[in-house]
């Protein structure tokens, strides 16, 4: 078999030489190596004070987007729930009443939208499946909790604030290339 690296050593069961049998040279060699590590730069990231640099397109907690007028984009079609390999998404749809046009963009909307963050594997398939550009993954981290049921995130957590200043920026995940890809004829409904 060809070696992948040239660091492999051929092991043999030959008798140890005197130098090897008295252990001390090897022990001192080992101690020299460990001592060298004493003053190395520490690799630890001191988490709450320092955060590791995240990728712009890190797949963390989800956000349910609003459109430019502040209306919820989600129309409760359920494609994200179907696409979800972990079956983490559930929703209940409802019909938009007259007078709610400023709240929901389409005639149908999700009255309940829940993602179980313990099931979610953060693959981003929901985002890819969404025909309405409504759900996106953000670089925000899902926080730890003491109770399991608190990991089921509802609309109160997921929907972004209506205030334009507090909107979640997803432009990094929605580049021109992505938009072009979504215009593929298989996504004709996406216009």
């Amino acid at each position: 078999m060809k070696n992948l690296t040239n660091r492999s050593k051929i092991v043999s069961n030959k008798k140890m030489s005197f130098r090897e049998r008295i252990y001390f040279p090897a022990i001192l060699g080992g101690m020299r190596i460990t001592f060298g590590h004493l003053f190395r730069r520490k690799t630890t990231v001191q988490y709450p004070e320092v955060t590791r640099e995240f990728s712009d397109i890190y797949r963390g907690k989800h956000v349910l987007k609003r459109d430019d007028e502040g209306r919820e984009r989600c129309t409760a079609c359920g494609l994200c729930a179907v696409a979800c390999p972990a079956e983490a998404i559930t929703m209940v749809s409802a019909e938009r009443k007259p007078g709610e046009e400023h709240l929901y963009r389409e005639e149908k909307y999700a009255i309940v939208y829940e993602i179980n963050m313990l099931r979610c594997i953060f693959c981003g398939d929901c985002e890819e499946a969404c025909p309405k550009e409504a759900i996106f993954l953000t670089p925000e981290i899902v926080k730890s909790e003491y109770q399991r049921d608190r990991f089921i995130y509802g609309k109160d957590v997921l929907v972004e604030p209506a205030d334009p200043a507090k909107r979640v920026d997803v432009s990094k995940r929605q580049t021109a290339k992505v938009l072009e890809f979504k215009k593929d004829k298989r996504y004709k409904h996406n216009k």
Partner: protein, 340 residues
């Protein structure tokens, strides 16, 4: 007389507290050093630089559930850790911690008990130490604990031989069994390590085995024996076992410093011209530095070497260290005879 007794009581309690505090902080330093060796920071969340970590650990041990196996021998089960702790704290009595202090013209020695057979006392206490582990492992009524205890006893008995043999050369050179006398003879830079390097090396290796530290930590060997002799222990009883190990490290460091590194002596000791009490303090700090150095070596070795296999351990003890120690005794004897 009364003042002497009060002084002795004070000194004894000071050394007791010192050993306990040092052992407490050794646990933190051990973890810190382990971290640094592995390019980590080590505990640094409890207080500045993790200084409150030992307190937190102690508190945790106190509040943990006190579990006792139903089939355990109750009396022996409690006796085990108590004995280990007791014995670990006893040894420090014979160690001279510094030169005499003079207050109002009265001389107070910095040694709790100047036993004229100091070395014998230390070794006697050390050999009792194995009982704590043996009894604890036996009383737990658990096969892993028993295996650990059996390993511990045979290991400690085997290495005691080589250890004593390496000390005999020191006794031959100094002609005294008193720790105080041995330290006095190493005045300045006449340290025993310079005359007995082989003896020191043997003693050092045996000290690792006696304190059950890596690479000879087979009695607790978590990869084979779950937790070894303290498998069935929890709460502060476990704490006592773990704590005793660190006290043993501290005390064995003190013994090694006393016997081989000149105790509280340091080169240029005569040229300072300090008042006796300041001098005593400086000397004590010198001894303490030496002990700290040994403590660091213990940790350094622990995070460098893998554990020995049991047959390797026995082979090293019986076939290498004991013959070497005997050879060392013979050579020392010949040299002493020739110099007479």
């Amino acid at each position: 007389m009364i003042t002497q007794i009060i002084y002795k009581a004070l000194l004894a309690s000071f050394i007791l507290v010192l050993s306990l505090v040092v052992a407490m902080y050794s646990t933190l330093i051990e973890r810190k050093v382990a971290g640094w060796f592995q390019d980590r920071h080590g505990p640094n969340r409890a207080g500045p630089w993790g200084l409150l970590q030992p307190l937190a650990d102690g508190l945790k041990l106190f509040f943990k559930e006190e579990f006792m196996p139903a089939s355990a021998d109750k009396f022996l089960y409690i006796l085990g850790p108590s004995l280990t702790m007791f014995v670990a704290l006893l040894t420090s009595a014979a160690i001279p911690w510094g030169p005499d202090i003079v207050i109002n013209g009265v001389v107070y020695p910095m040694q709790v008990a100047d036993v004229n057979i100091g070395i014998l006392y230390v070794f006697a206490i050390l050999s009792i130490g194995v009982y704590g582990i043996m009894i604890g492992g036996w009383a737990s009524n658990n096969k892993y604990a028993l295996l650990g205890a059996v390993r511990a006893s045979s290991q400690m008995i085997s290495y005691e031989l080589a250890m004593s043999l390496s000390i005999i050369t020191i006794v031959m050179m100094s002609g005294s069994l008193s720790m105080r006398e041995i330290v006095a003879q190493q005045h300045g830079f006449h340290w025993n390590i310079l005359y007995q390097p082989l003896g020191f090396l043997i003693f050092l290796v045996c000290a690792f085995a006696e304190t059950n530290r890596a690479p000879f930590d087979l009695p607790e060997c978590e990869t084979e024996l779950v937790g070894g002799y303290h498998t069935e222990y929890s709460s502060m009883k476990l704490g006592f076992y773990l704590f005793a190990e660190y006290i043993n490290m501290f005390i064995s460091g003190a013994v090694m410093a006393t016997l081989f590194l000149g105790g509280y002596h340091f080169p240029g000791i005569d040229k300072l011209g300090l008042s006796p009490n300041v001098f005593a303090f400086v000397s004590f700090m010198v001894l303490f530095t030496k002990i700290t150095f040994f403590g660091f070596i213990y940790m350094w070795i622990r995070w460098t070497l893998p554990r020995f296999r049991y047959d390797q351990l026995m082979k090293l003890g019986w076939k290498s260290l004991i013959p070497l120690a005997i050879l060392n005794v013979v050579i020392t004897g010949v040299v002493i005879l020739l110099n007479q």
